[in-house]
Symmetry: D2
Subunit: 88 residues, 4 copies
């Protein structure tokens, strides 16, 4: 994992953790469900942005290197597995 | 918010929080990106299940009551807003 | 189904059909996969907009009427089924 | 595009076209919205499966070849663009 991918990912994970703690407080205080749902949607968006960052790093490093090393079946297979998990 | 929706939601939020902490550890230990991504997908799935639970409660209580009270424009409008936020 | 929902839906379905025919031509002419995929994403977006329109009509008519007629279990159950099908 | 990817894609596109024609008939005959929506969801699923097939072919051919030819920035950039379009 590239150092800047790692640091940026940790920053985003901390933000997501804080957001989630806020949602827990909303549920404890029995806030309006519609408002809670808007926040859970926002958290999922934030996780998707983190995934995009991780995938970017993965493609530029492991995938490119894997193809150059002749392990293309492995790296392509993993990408297709991720794609299919993501669509489920 | 119904009491059992609230308790079940808090239980799921605690689980999601733990899962997210595990992902943070994976990033700190620079685990393989593909494995990290599989976990972030699983967290998003868990959040979607929580949303399904919250929506279930919301429809059975606020939406039904809203229509009966003649506030159908409001409750229908909110549902459409949630739907469109969710598809974004 | 409201008359304007029906007419607008048919208009959109015709547009989607034309778009899909264009994608078929792209595949027959062996266009670059990335360009084909961008078009299939666009078709899915167009279908989602059609769904949003159909759902809008459904909520304003059948759901509101169903609740008023005391068939709330049925209409709420159908909405939850749609939500869960949509997330799959 | 590989010949079997092409033939399989065309077969699926024909199937999707037929499915869409069925949905148009349902709207013309003003079938219950919930039933129409279940069909549009199914069409989107079918398009996603087609995309998975196209992506599979693309990764195994153009992406692997692109990396070997030193055009990794281009092929990785395209994959990230597709990913971000797909999440929108």
């Amino acid at each position: 994992m590239l150092e800047n991918t790692k640091q940026e990912s940790l920053k985003r994970l901390n933000y997501i953790e804080g957001h989630l703690a806020g949602i827990k407080r909303m549920v404890e205080e029995e806030k309006y469900c519609v408002d809670v749902l808007k926040q859970t949607y926002a958290v999922r968006r934030a996780i998707e942005k983190l995934e995009s960052l991780l995938l970017d790093g993965h493609l530029h490093t492991c995938v490119v290197q894997g193809v150059k090393d002749g392990r293309e079946e492995q790296v392509v297979g993993e990408l297709l597995e991720l794609y299919s998990l993501n669509s489920k």
